[in-house]
């Protein structure tokens, strides 16, 4: 019988030996980014992906008490008994709870949370098999499938929507969505424009006001219009490109797709605070890139830090400045 601590130690020592440095100090004697690449390359794929997914469930999980409790218990179980991460039951508990949560509140669950639950089921299946080769095939296939699905389905739904194609959606959000107010200010749209638009929409919503023809003029700004059109074309083209490039399954196209995906993660989640989505995209990207493109794998590792740091209240700072 081994204790939790000794099991934990074995994980630690495995990571240390895997770091490839006899001194146990992986960062000595090489450039910092080189060391990071080396470090990323030597990570155990399944363990890293499992750990990153566990973090995701604990900090950006489903907003439901059942999932909160199960995710925390799973983290506690892992801390006390690290081997549990390799057991299918561990992932079954999380995946099943995620599925129950979705079924209970499916109209309210954001689309990207479904992605989290699919990924939990994928990890459950991966851990059902003992042969590493088979596990690898499952996880690589699913990571690619879900990245393609995410970006191609998103592009399809966007291109099929008239309010997206016309740039109406992004312009409207730049005015009324508080998440975009700070970003808007950064690109030169005065927050007072958004305030004025919001006030006018209140006339439409209030039962104590009747707007002639239910049609109301807003002030708006040309800059917002231009920004919205640029955001629309940038967003649709990047997403379509990532989805299509990953579909081709060639070394070169994959490399470009990863660079675009990294660009997407690093830029999108600054204005859009859906960190869980960024995290899961990064987990899938890392899964595909780790063994084939070590530099890109290291960049994905950095993206996790970036996503955590994007939670800084920079919007308030910008709006106050």
């Amino acid at each position: 019988m081994k204790s939790a601590t000794s099991a934990r130690t074995s994980v630690i020592s495995r990571r240390q030996s895997a770091s490839g440095s006899p001194t146990g100090r992986p960062f000595v004697g090489s450039s910092k980014f080189g060391a990071l690449i080396e470090f990323a390359r030597n990570l155990d794929l399944f363990e890293t992906v499992s750990l990153l997914t566990l973090v995701l469930t604990v900090i950006f999980g489903f907003d439901h008490w059942l999932f909160h409790i199960v995710a925390r218990i799973c983290l506690l179980v892992f801390i006390l008994w690290p081997r549990s991460l390799r057991t299918p039951v561990f992932w079954l508990a999380l995946a099943l709870t995620g599925a129950i949560t979705i079924i209970l509140t499916w109209e309210l669950v954001d689309n990207h949370k479904y992605l989290l639950d699919y990924w939990l089921w994928v990890l459950f299946m991966v851990h059902l098999f003992a042969q590493p080769q088979r596990q690898l095939r499952i996880i690589l296939f699913n990571a690619r499938f879900f990245l393609c699905l995410t970006f191609l389905a998103a592009s399809a739904q966007k291109l099929a929507s008239p309010s997206y194609r016309s740039g109406e959606m992004f312009e409207y959000y730049l005015y009324v969505d508080p998440r975009f107010a700070a970003f808007g200010k950064l690109i030169g749209i005065d927050p007072s424009v958004g305030e004025a638009v919001k006030k006018r929409t209140m006339f439409l919503r209030s039962p104590f006001a009747e707007v002639q023809g239910n049609d109301i003029q807003i002030v708006g700004s040309n800059r917002a219009r231009v920004a919205a059109l640029m955001m629309t074309s940038w967003d649709a083209s990047v997403q379509l490109a990532i989805g299509l490039l990953l579909l081709i399954r060639r070394q070169r196209t994959d490399q470009i797709a990863h660079i675009l995906l990294l660009f997407f993660i690093f830029t999108t989640y600054i204005p859009a605070p859906v960190f869980g989505f960024g995290w899961i995209l990064a987990v899938m990207g890392l899964t595909l890139a780790k063994d084939k493109f070590p530099k890109i794998g290291a960049a994905y590792l950095v993206s996790f830090f970036a996503i955590l740091l994007y939670q800084l209240p920079w919007r308030e700072w910008v709006l106050k400045s």
Binding site: T5, S6, R8, T9, I12, E195, K199
Partner: protein, 195 residues
């Protein structure tokens, strides 16, 4: 895992000389902070639940049993209550109720003064309530309701004093009566609250 892998360079400089300091440092800090909390809660009204003592569930007198009433007063002595507050103002009030010093209520008043307030067209009568909680007629006063209208522009001067009444509730289990006491009234002039 044991400590054998720890290197001597882990040790923080100061504590290299005093191993006892490592052990008793935090207890001393905790005692100092607890003493400060007891002092502030006895002499400056700090809620016993906050500030680093151990007074959770030690007294009725916490934020839950304190409340504030806010008024804008005019030079003729009339005053109108602020009935709909913004989130940021509610947070500032919670903060001031936990530690009811003038400085904290001034922060509330400053936050009020950043907003332009609109009053309802009709006056609302003040209802008299008897000790059983039943309406027992109308009081002599009546007020307009005041609600936030829009952020005040910086060039516009704030007019009117802001008056904040700080109330406390107590409960007498023998008579089963709840009593509200006006603990203090804070008044702030336009100059004080001007940002």
């Amino acid at each position: 895992m044991n400590g054998s892998s720890d290197q001597p360079d882990h040790q923080l400089g100061f504590f290299r000389y005093s191993s006892r300091a490592l052990i008793i440092c935090m207890p001393i800090v905790a005692l100092v902070i607890a003493a400060r909390q007891v002092y502030l809660s006895n002499y400056h009204g700090l809620a016993v639940w906050k500030g680093g003592g151990m007074g959770m569930f030690a007294s009725m007198d916490g934020q839950a049993n304190r409340f504030a009433q806010l008024f804008i007063t005019q030079s003729d002595g009339t005053r109108q209550p602020l009935t709909h507050l913004l989130r940021v103002q509610k947070d500032a009030i919670d903060n001031a109720l936990n530690y009811p010093v003038r400085r904290n209520f001034l922060a509330v008043a400053k936050s009020i003064a950043t907003i332009e307030w609109a009053s309802s067209p009709e006056r609302m009568p003040v209802v008299l309530i008897d000790s059983k909680g039943e309406p027992a007629g109308r009081a002599s006063e009546s007020y307009h309701m005041m609600a936030p209208f829009r952020p005040r522009s910086r060039d516009e001067k704030w007019k009117g004093n802001i008056q904040i009444e700080f109330w406390k509730m107590s409960y007498n289990p023998l008579t089963r009566t709840c009593h509200a006491t006006l603990a203090q009234t804070f008044a702030f002039t336009p100059d004080e609250v001007q940002q």
